[in-house]
Structure formats: C-alpha cells, structure tokens
C-alpha cells in the first residue's frame, strides 16, 4: 500500500509537471494579446509595449517559462494581469466557493441516487424502476443553465424563498449563507442524480445476477441484508469511480451555474481569465484543478479495495 501510494504520488508530480508545461505553452499559442484586451481599441503601440514589458511578455518564451517555473517552485503563482491580485489566494478563494457547492451537491446526489438506483435495480421492470429510470433520463436531459434559471424564477422570484443574486460566505450568518447556495446546490445535485441513478442501477443489476447473491438468498438471509451487505459493496465500487471523476470535473469549475447564480467560483474565474488572456490566473487555475483531479482519483483508487476486496492496490 505504501509503495503504491508513493508511486502514485510520483506519478502525480509527473502529471502536474506535464500539465504545467502544456498549459503554459498552449496558452501562449492562443492568438490574442492580453495588453490589447486590457487597453481596448484605442491602445497605442507604446502603451501596448509598456504593458507587455511589465508582464514579461516581451521576453522569449523559454525565458518566460523559466521565470514562471522558478516563481512556482518558490510558491509564487504570479500576479493576475487583469486584477493585479496575487494568483494563489485568488484561486484558493474562488475554489472554496466552488468546492462548497460541489461537495454539498455531490453528497446530496449520492445520498439520493445510490439508494434510488439500487431500489430500481432490485425492482427491475416494475413501476418503481420505470419511474426512477424516467426521472434519471429527464434530469440527464435538462441543461444545467435552464434548470438553474427555472429554479431562480420559481423559488427566487415567484415564491421569494431565497435570494436570486450573489453569495455570502459562511463566516457570518450560516442560515443566510445557506440561502444563497441552496439553489445552485440543488440544481447541481439534480443534474448529477440523473447520472448516478443510471450508474447505480446498472451496476446493481449486474451484481444481482451473480451466483453468490442467489446463494445468499438461498441461505435464507433477509433480503435487506443481502442488498446492504452483499450487493451494495460490489455494486457501489463502479459508482465510486464515477463519483471521483464527477468530483474532479465539477471542482474544475461549474462555470455555467456560477454565471447563472452569480457565484464567484473558480469556473467563472477561469473562463473570464481565458478571455482576458490572464496567463498567470489560467495557469494557476488549471494547475489547481489538475492537482485536485489527480488527488481525488488517488483517493478513489485507495478506497476501491474497501468496497471490492478483490481489487488490491498492489
């Protein structure tokens, strides 16, 4: 286990190095000048040169990369060309907002979808199954921005239960803070419930067909025990992989929902920074999300044997 962990950590380092190099050079291959975008259509050549010089963009690419790498290794992610802020605190702040929404939404989605998918599989082809699978398909088919706007219109505008704009941190009034994130959390959870129900159902059906389940039933073990003790661990393992991928993807940013709900999350920051060619922020965001993605998948891999002992980390 320890050797496996070390090996994966080493691979994580290599992956992140590759991500860093790729992101750095691909960003600079994208046409568009950050100085022009900052100064607009009336910029003079002299002003453009001043800004490029200030940001080091007038240096050859290898030199720029060297500076960036040296700063990165000393923990300095640079300064945003768009806002003048230090990149690391900026992206950590924004990541905190996105992580709050995503973790809550995925937790809710898992709590609802996994049992629902298992029950649907257990009652395969019954009315319960049809309802569950229809609901899952419907939720999968709804675009997140549309669902978000409908939620805003119904619960924010018509019923007036929650605020429709803004975000309040959890460092003050917790209930008020919750009122701002409840709609994005529920919206995201609903979207992810659709995916998870289908996954949980499919893997449960597969496990229910295995001989050891029939054997357990033949032994007279109560049905709930069969489901919880024998079916769930095996059926949940593939869903766990999916949850890992889902968390990684969502933590990388939920730009559309962040835009609809005016949340200051990392997805919106990344999109805005790409459009503004804010290289330090884009590089920082992508490095952070790649790190999170890799770490989550590492955790999932380490957890896998807990649910499916046939799999060993070695």
């Amino acid at each position: 286990m320890f050797r496996y962990f070390l090996r994966r950590t080493l691979m994580t380092g290599i992956t992140l190095s590759l991500v860093g190099i790729t992101v750095f050079f691909i960003m600079r291959l994208i046409p568009g000048d950050p100085a022009s975008l900052m100064l607009g259509e009336s910029a003079t050549d002299e002003q453009l040169q001043i800004l490029r010089g200030r940001w080091g963009l007038d240096q050859p690419l290898p030199v720029q990369f060297g500076y960036w790498l040296a700063s990165l290794l000393s923990g300095d992610f640079g300064v945003s060309t768009r806002t003048g802020q230090d990149v690391l605190p900026l992206i950590l702040d924004r990541f905190g907002v996105t992580a709050t929404i995503v973790v809550l939404a995925v937790a809710i989605a898992v709590a609802i979808a996994v049992p629902a998918g298992m029950i649907a599989a257990w009652r395969q082809n019954s009315l319960t199954d049809v309802v569950a699978i229809s609901l899952a398909t419907l939720l999968l088919s709804i675009p997140s921005f549309w669902l978000g706007l409908i939620m805003l219109l119904v619960f924010g505008l018509k019923l007036g239960w929650v605020p429709v704009l803004g975000f309040v941190g959890f460092d003050g009034d917790i209930l008020r803070a919750l009122s701002f994130i409840i709609l994005p959390v529920v919206t995201l959870a609903l979207i992810e419930i659709g995916v998870l129900i289908r996954m949980a159902r499919a893997s449960t059906i597969e496990v229910l067909r295995l001989e050891y389940v029939t054997h357990a039933r033949a032994k007279g073990i109560p049905e709930w025990k069969v489901l919880v003790r024998h079916v769930f661990p095996n059926a949940f393992a593939p869903t766990l992989t999916l949850i890992g991928l889902m968390l990684g993807n969502l933590l990388g940013g939920i730009a559309v929902l962040e835009t609809v709900f005016t949340l200051p999350g990392i997805g919106k920051l990344l999109v805005e920074s790409i459009f503004a060619r804010d290289y330090p922020v884009v590089q920082g965001c992508l490095l952070l999300t790649a790190t999170v993605f890799v770490l989550i998948n590492l955790v999932v891999d380490l957890l896998y044997p807990v649910f499916d002992p046939r799999v060993t980390v070695e």
Partner: protein, 524 residues
C-alpha cells in the same frame, strides 16, 4: 478609467472553508463624513471592474463606479458639451495655447484634505509619468501636446499647450480617460505603489469583493458644483447612503434580479425592454449613446483597395434595417460616426440610410467585381457585432456580393484589428464625446486606424486645433463628405442602451453616457 480600493483584509476562512479576499477602502470605515449603512441603491455591473491604478491599467468597466468617486476639472453634460466640475470656471488664452482653470474653493477630498492646484498638478504628473498607460497620455503627448502645467496660486491651474487647440477641455473630460481624474496623493502607498483612490466625488470608495461587488458610500462633506444637474456636470448630490455595484454577468440573471427587487438598476438587452416595461414595479430608460457600430473595410486589402467596390458595399447596406434588427427597433441608422446628440451632428442631404440596388449594380460593374469572396470578421462575445454581421451578409448577398463571416474569439478579432490584418470587420467603438473624437477613432496613420487617407488626417488635425465651434462643424462636415466618398467604413448606428430600473428610484435620467449616473437619484 480605473480606480483602486485598498486591500483591507486578506483571507478569512469560513466554517466550510469558504474564503474571500476582501478589498476595501479603509477610510470608508473611519471617517464620520462617509456614511455607513442606511439607504442603498443596488446596481448591476455586466463585468467585474479591474479597478486598480489609472496610470498602470486601463479599461472601461470601472467607469460606472469610478465616476461616482473621482472628478476632473471638467466633465460632459448630456448635450456633450463640457462644463466645470472641480473648476469654478476656465478661460482660453493665447489664441488657444493656454487654458486657465480657477478651482472651486473648499472642495474636500474623501480624507478631509482641501483640494488645491497642487493636487491637480500632482495627479496630472502621475497620469503622465513614464510607464503610465493612461489612455489620454498619448493624446496629451501627441495631438493635444501639453508643454507645462503651472500652479500660480492654490486655486489656479494653467495648462500650456504646444499649439492652439480647441479640443483640450473636451479631451480632459473624455470618459474613456476617466475624465482626467484628480485624486489625493495619499492614494499612493509610501512605496509609491497604488493604494486606494481618494477622490472628491459625492461618494467615497467602500468595500469591494473582487468578482462580487464594489460599494461606494455617501460623502457627507461633498461640495457640489453649482448649476442645474446636467449629465456629469451641475448639481451633484448623493441621495442615498450607499450604492452597491454587483457583478452580474448573465443577462437573464440581471432581469431576474430586477424582477425580484434585488437589483434596482441594470442594463438590459434590447429584446427585454418590452418585458421589463410590462412589470408594474419596473421601467426602462433608453439612452442613445456615442458607442458607434460600423463595418470596417480595409483599404490595404487587394480587393477592397477598389474604391468603387467599397462604395458598392456601402450602397448595398440598409443601415436602418441593420440598426433596427440588431437593437430590436431601439436604434436608428446613421451614415456618420458623429452621434446625433452632438451639436456637430449634421447629416448630409438625402442621407443614404436605405440600400440603393441600382446604384450598387452600377458601382459593382464599375469596380469590375466578379464574385470574389469578402470575409467579415465578427465575434460572439459581443452579440451585437455578430448580429450586425449576419444582417449585413444577407443584404450584401442579396446585392450579389459574395460575403462570408469568420467568427473569431474577441481577443483574436481585436488583435487583427490592432494590427490592421483583416479584410473587413463588424466592429463597434467605445463612446467618444469630444467633437473630433468621433473621427479620431478611425482616422490616423496607426495600424489600428481604418482610414489612413492623408486628406482625412490633415482635416482631423485641423479640426483638433480649431477653437471656433462653427469652424469645427465645417471641418467635421468636410471629413464626413470625404468619408462618404471614400467609404473606409460603413457607418451603421449608435447604440441605444436600455437600463431597467425599479420605480422606487426617483431621478434616473436618460444620458448619452454608457452607464447611468446615480447621484441625484433617491429612493421614494
């Protein structure tokens, strides 16, 4: 265009690990002259302000917030004429080479200090310092060259120009140059870096959370200019304790915000105007701005070098249809960059707003056009530019001109524009209020300027120097005639902006500026 808020606190971790960088203007919480809490107007920003240092960064998004906090010597009224703000009056001497500004006595900065001519000069020196990218720096070093700024006494500032210039005061007031802001030297930190803006406006900078909102707080010691309120001049009064500008980038979310009452005022898309007006609690104010939409025709392009072809393109476009189509009936077509609200606007007789198919056919034949493709660059970041490209494409194709649209990301389109590397572009220009600004946007030898004609450049220079309004108008008319003849671009329309607002607000007025002013606005 940009101002800064002082870093007030760094990271605060919440129970769930949510943390923010809170930027704030410290004085907002210490000075009793600056109001806290109480009445509040909540306005939407379409994008977050970058808002740091006017000399080191420059962009337009900060303007709605900035104009409430800092002021210049002069500013624009709703008729696009310049009037004094920090100045009591000004005079033009030495045949237009010297401008003398008398400052209003007793004007206070937000830190309690009294405004003097030294502050005006200090701000000027800061904006014009080496390494500054303040938008008007190049202008004041070039077309409107300032040789010296003198302060003979605490309430007098004298600007000495290299040559007589009639547009100096207009240029000082340019909104894209933040109205040549005057701020206190303690806006800088001890190490000379930008700290926080300390201006003289009716509101002082308050708390800012990057990506979320920026607030301005009523400045109780504000000393208003005299005269009737008129655009950005005349009486200015902070009638609420606070204005919060929230960043709401999604247009649908802005409308939901207005309808729910969480926003009091916000720009709305043209197609939403009727919907907003149907709401009992809401209304819309329309403002014809100086933001100009045009189809640029690059005369360096081998095909578009042909004047007859450019004229044919101009003749085939129904400007009125483009304007109405893009703005859902709010805007009117125009054949000149000069905005209707300007006193220098004088349309030529039989202004060619509609397409003229017969004339187009003649011109195409004269040009020897044989269906060669013409590419219009457009983008979807600014939907209006894309929409106008689509309408123009259909009109030109109907006239037998083979047009394709190349949709680029805005950054790339801007790069092509700046380098002059394109055949044709669907484009829009930021608002300009100075008389020659309308023309200066496109005329010049720089690569980004679409019209490099020596005659136009000479006329522009003449117009910038002229001090007599009648002479300025005559020169503008001359440029206009040449513009129609040469067709370096096809003028389409000036954008009419719609701002939705809650009827609980009193005093929201139409103005040709890109954003509404929120002083003199109260809550019923």
């Amino acid at each position: 265009m940009i101002f800064s808020f002082q870093r007030f606190a760094n990271v605060r971790s919440g129970r769930l690990g949510v943390a923010f960088v809170v930027l704030s203007l410290g004085i907002g919480f210490a000075d009793p002259a600056i109001a806290q809490g109480g009445s509040i107007i909540r306005a939407a920003l379409n994008e977050d302000i970058r808002g740091v240092d006017p000399a080191r960064q420059s962009e337009g998004m900060a303007d709605p917030v900035h104009m409430h906090v800092v002021e210049g010597l002069v500013a624009y009224g709703s008729n696009l004429e310049v009037g004094p703000v920090l100045a009591e009056s000004y005079s033009v001497e030495d045949g237009g080479k010297t401008y003398v500004f008398k400052l209003r006595d007793g004007v206070k900065f937000h830190n309690g200090e009294t405004l003097t001519s030294a502050d005006v000069k200090w701000s000027w020196d800061y904006l014009m310092a080496e390494g500054s990218v303040w938008r008007c720096k190049a202008v004041f070093e070039g077309n409107v060259k300032v040789l010296a700024v003198e302060t003979p006494n605490p309430l007098t500032v004298v600007y000495r120009l290299a040559e007589p210039n009639g547009s100096f005061a207009y240029t000082l007031a340019r909104t894209d140059c933040a109205g040549t802001p005057v701020f206190h030297k303690s806006s800088l930190k001890a190490d000379g870096s930008w700290g926080s803006v300390i201006g003289t406006g009716p509101f002082a900078a308050g708390e800012r959370k990057i990506g979320e909102y920026a607030e301005v707080l009523r400045f109780a010691d504000y000393k208003s200019p005299a005269g009737e309120a008129n655009g950005r001049i005349g009486r200015k009064e902070a009638m609420v304790d606070k204005i919060r500008f929230s960043v709401v980038t999604d247009p649908a979310a802005r409308i939901v915000g207005l309808r729910s009452g969480e926003l009091d005022v916000s720009s709305v898309a043209s197609q939403s105007v009727d919907q907003i007006r149907q709401e009992a609690a809401l209304d819309v104010v329309l403002s014809e701005t100086t933001v100009w939409y045009a189809l640029l025709l690059n005369q360096k392009d081998p095909l578009l070098q042909n004047k007859a072809l450019r004229q044919a393109i101009a003749s085939a476009i129904d400007r009125q249809a483009v304007a109405q189509g893009v703005t859902y009936g709010l805007a009117t077509g125009t054949s000149t960059p000069m905005p209707r609200v300007s006193r220098y606007y004088s349309p030529i007789a039989n202004e060619p707003l509609a397409a003229n198919p017969d004339r187009t056919r003649e011109l195409l034949a004269e040009a020897g056009y044989d269906g060669e493709p013409i590419t219009i660059i457009a983008n979807k970041s600014f939907q209006s530019m894309f929409d106008q490209a689509i309408i123009i494409q259909s009109q030109l194709q109907a006239a037998g001109i083979n047009v394709t649209i190349e949709t680029l990301e805005w950054g790339l389109q801007l790069e092509r524009y700046t380098g002059g590397k394109y055949q044709s572009q669907s484009f829009s220009y930021s608002g300009r209020f100075d008389p020659m600004g309308a023309w200066e946007r496109i005329i010049g030898p720089e690569s980004r300027k679409v019209w490099k004609d020596e005659r136009a450049i000479a006329l522009l220079k003449k117009g910038l120097v002229a001090t007599d309004p009648d002479e300025v108008r005559a020169i503008s008319d001359e440029i206009y005639a040449l513009f129609i003849e040469e067709a370096p671009a096809v003028s389409l329309f000036h954008m009419t902006l719609a701002n939705g607002f809650n009827k609980r607000l009193e005093g929201i007025k139409s103005a040709p500026f890109d954003t509404p002013t929120l002083w003199n606005v109260s809550i019923k």
